[in-house]
Amino acid sequence: MEFHIVVCAGLVPDPLQTLEPVMGPAGPGLKNEALLPSVIDPWAAHALFEAAHLARARPGSKVWLVSLAPKAKLQQVLMVVAQKVPFDLVAVDGPANGFTDASACAAALADAIAAIPGLDRQKLLVFGGWESASRAAGTTLQMVGERLGITEQFQGVDAVTVGADGAFEVLERIEGGRHQVATCSGAPAVCGWATGSLHEPPNSPQVGMMNMRTLMPALQKARAASVPLAGAFGAAAVPSARRDTRVVKDMSPDAIAQEIVEWIRQ
């Protein structure tokens, strides 16, 4: 059985960037937000790679990437992402800000998915990151699923193993470094991925050229979505956690080891 896999993935600031919140008249944002380099959301990227892997193993399957983000930034990031795995892009032009409302974001994504031509809801798997690295709520995919009428949902997913009949086993992260094992009779379902088990595919110019045929038209057709801030913000700040660090330079490894062991035993 083939699948129609829709991967929801937004953009986030490059994790190595310093994030400094600033309060504007409408609410918080990030300092120099428009200039911060962006990457595809890390857990959503894993979902995309897993989707492509699954689609390759199930002939007739297809992958769509649905992204709600500022159009210009999306174009920049997709120049790299489009060389990784094949997909059709559905772009929605809107903010990628982490202070926006998950339910409004979910509404925009669900509308975009529902409007995909040729999408078979009975074959539909909605993938995405379990939590984004921006809003970091872990609620958006659940809401997207509910809006699409999908009540088989799994979060913190690290593996999906599909059988010949389309039924699958799924591993969901739970507390204590363990996985909950569940089975599902098949699509439609929602999977919010954690890291999965696949590493990032190497760039492929051939895949990039193939994706490019649909990427630019999709960006040009991107509908604008209004995604307001989540509420009335009183403050947004980086917690001050600066410690008075003691830097020890002149101790032997043996002496350091002794001190560490004493500290551990306290």
Partner: protein
């Protein structure tokens, strides 16, 4: 004050019908919020058996106990959990729904809000009401930014981070439970839990100490060679002797998936930081890790922090650790293991 506003806390019972600490924390938070709003609060219970939980909360002051109980609700499954929570919230007519930040409750917080036509916030570390206005403090950008906000939209589902509120501790009493009927059809089933065997268990949430291994363990050392076997021996020896939990930087974990010199016991589950976990341990020791911001945000809840690094100007030395030892971690950890009797 807004006496018309109703507060509901929804918690899942354990297999024996008792409540775990995160559930008791959520009950306490809901109770305090209701007191600030001068409004009653209600308790919703979901699980195979709920009577012991209701009895344990008998004197918490809840106006009512509603429950969805039965074998179908014993395990954490989206379809049944979200239906149960929505049934209880609808029966109560809840405006504010507090849930604990457990994996089970977080898995349905968004779906619950959607079913109720409301909104949801997770990773909440504080909730309070003043002059009838409810505000929360929560993390954004994965523990990098903390924000305080309020919403007018209702119902509002609030998932409270574990360990941020004292747990309810009161005398048991008679807690009469009203059953809420819920009809659910589902195509999924929970079949079990998969955990590493005891000898391979490296993620230990209850450990006093977190050891974080950075990518430096698999880099070329002073002799120009990679010493992955020595690194493995040092790390595993330390874990055996100290019973510490093992964390890793993203770069080290990624290497394990890319076929480079690797530490085979490291998986993505060990990853600590912006794209990994933020564990709670009393002490943390970082080795061969530079202490860059994406790593350190995973240390938000690690109280005492020490690091061993060859670079005296590494991120840990910039106010992120209490002590930084400028030394070769291979030599230091070898000696540490000797002293610990590994």
């Amino acid at each position: 004050m807004d006496p018309s506003m109703s507060v509901l806390v929804i918690v899942h019972t354990e297999s024996d019908g008792a409540l775990a600490t995160p559930a008791l924390e959520a009950v306490n938070a809901a109770r305090a919020l209701a007191q600030q709003l001068a409004t009653p609060f209600h308790v919703g219970l979901v699980g195979a058996v709920v009577e012991p939980a209701a009895a344990a909360l008998g004197t918490c002051g809840a106006a009512s106990f509603r429950a969805v109980a039965g074998d179908a609700f014993a395990q954490a499954r989206y379809a049944t959990d979200v239906a149960a929570a929505a049934g209880i919230a609808t029966a109560v007519g809840a405006d504010l729904v507090i849930v604990p930040g457990t994996s089970r409750a977080l898995r349905t917080a968004g779906g619950l809000a959607q079913r109720l036509g409301g909104v949801a916030d997770t990773h909440v570390v504080g909730v309070a009401a003043s002059a009838g206005v409810v505000s929360i403090t929560r993390w954004f950008y994965r523990q990098r930014i903390e924000g305080t906000m309020s919403r007018t939209a209702r119902p509002w589902v609030i998932a409270l981070e574990t360990g941020t509120t004292p747990a309810w501790a009161g005398a048991p009493g008679a807690g009469g439970v009203e059953a809420v009927a819920v009809s659910v059809e589902t195509r999924s089933a929970v079949t079990g839990v998969r955990a590493p065997s005891t000898g391979e268990q490296t993620v230990r949430p209850d450990a006093d100490l977190l050891l974080v291994a950075g990518a430096g363990w698999t880099k070329k050392q002073a002799d120009g060679q990679v010493h992955a076997e020595a690194a493995q021996s040092a790390i595993l020896g330390f874990l055996r002797a100290s019973k510490a939990s093992l964390g890793g930087s993203k770069s080290l974990v990624d290497q394990s998936g890319e076929g480079q010199a690797v530490l085979p016991f490291m998986t993505h589950l060990n990853q600590v930081g912006q794209t990994g976990s933020s564990p709670r341990h009393r002490k943390g020791l970082a080795t061969c890790c530079h202490g860059e911001e994406p790593h350190v945000i995973g240390w938000r809840f690690v109280t005492e922090r020490r690091a061993v690094n060859l670079n005296a100007n590494c991120g840990w030395a910039q106010g992120k650790a209490d002590v930084v030892y400028v030394a070769d971690a291979f030599a230091v950890m070898k000696k540490v293991n000797e002293l610990l009797g590994a």
